[in-house]
Amino acid sequence: MDEEQLIAALKGQDPGAVRELVDSCGDRLLRSAFSLCGNETEAQDIVQDTFLQAIRSVHRFQGRCAVYTWLHAILLNLTRHYHRDRKRIVYDDELADREVSPPDENPGALDAGTASSALWQALRQLSAAHREVIVLRYYEEMKIHEIATHLGISKGTVKSRLHYAIGEMQKLLPGELNLFGGGGTEEIQKQ
């Protein structure tokens, strides 16, 4: 069933279509939600609400973007509401367990675990707006104009947010992770 047929089936309230939608996008949305909010339980709730809202409003879907993009836009709005209600993001303990790889005799794997842990720590300290652009750019691999459309802001604002988000992460990450230090547009600006 292609996307067009899937949407038609959803509009026809076909339960099989809902199942297919959940199968095809559920886990991916959950991972994105987890990257945005940092809490698995909250991410599960957000994804559940995303699907319910999508099913309710499927008749308004015009097919101008991919189904996943449409679902992700709903998810992003819900994530913002969750953040607004809670005022601040609270990451649960399971994140620390999840993000660090289990001990391995391979030193390279341990380094990856440390880097990963530092990355999540830095990500959780970003503002919601900065975290959004980081996740959309580097996790969802969206282009600048796609992020701008997705967030309803200008391309210039997207670039500006990316620039400052990377700068923030540069301050938050340890020096060993020099992927965020002294590079990008900042280095060009200095010259």
């Binding site: 959940v22 600048i144 965020f180």
Partner: protein, 196 residues
Amino acid sequence: MNCRRFQNRFYEYVEGSLSDDTQAAANEHLARCSACRQAVAQEQQRAQFLFDRLRQDTETLALRPEVRRRILTSPKCKSVPRASLESIIGLWNRFARSATIAVSLLLFAAFLLISHLSGTRIRETIHETETAPGDDRNLQPAISIQISYRVPTFKFRREGNLVVDTLSYETVVASGTLRPGGQEPVPQEQATKTPL
């Protein structure tokens, strides 16, 4: 293209969404600018690192069975009368503005009509009751006034060793007509006694 212009197109260059001409100019600039080359290389490394880490750290996450079940069995998903809901929302979206304007106009017209009719009736009543032929001053309305008030009165009398008191009220009613033409109201008083 100089560094500043390249910087403005930095992300588009890395993602490969520049037009052919701009892409060629950017490549030309990168060929002779090591700082921009380094920045591009670093951005590509950064993107790869973030993508790998975020993907690897979340790849074990899966939708919980109970969440999945709730989505598939939710009444919101199954029993929403979509057609009727859509029709109500659609009708509202379609006619809300015009309906609001029409109701406002109707209310305004009704208000004007009522004001006009009531004004005419008042004027007609005044004209019928107060107008005396040949007396222009009486065209203005006369106002009837009636005032009443109660005056308490205590009376004491002695009966043997006891003192008996009696409270009675006297109601005084005064009425008259106030004429704007300058005539004083004609008072007509009458009093009635009401023992308690």
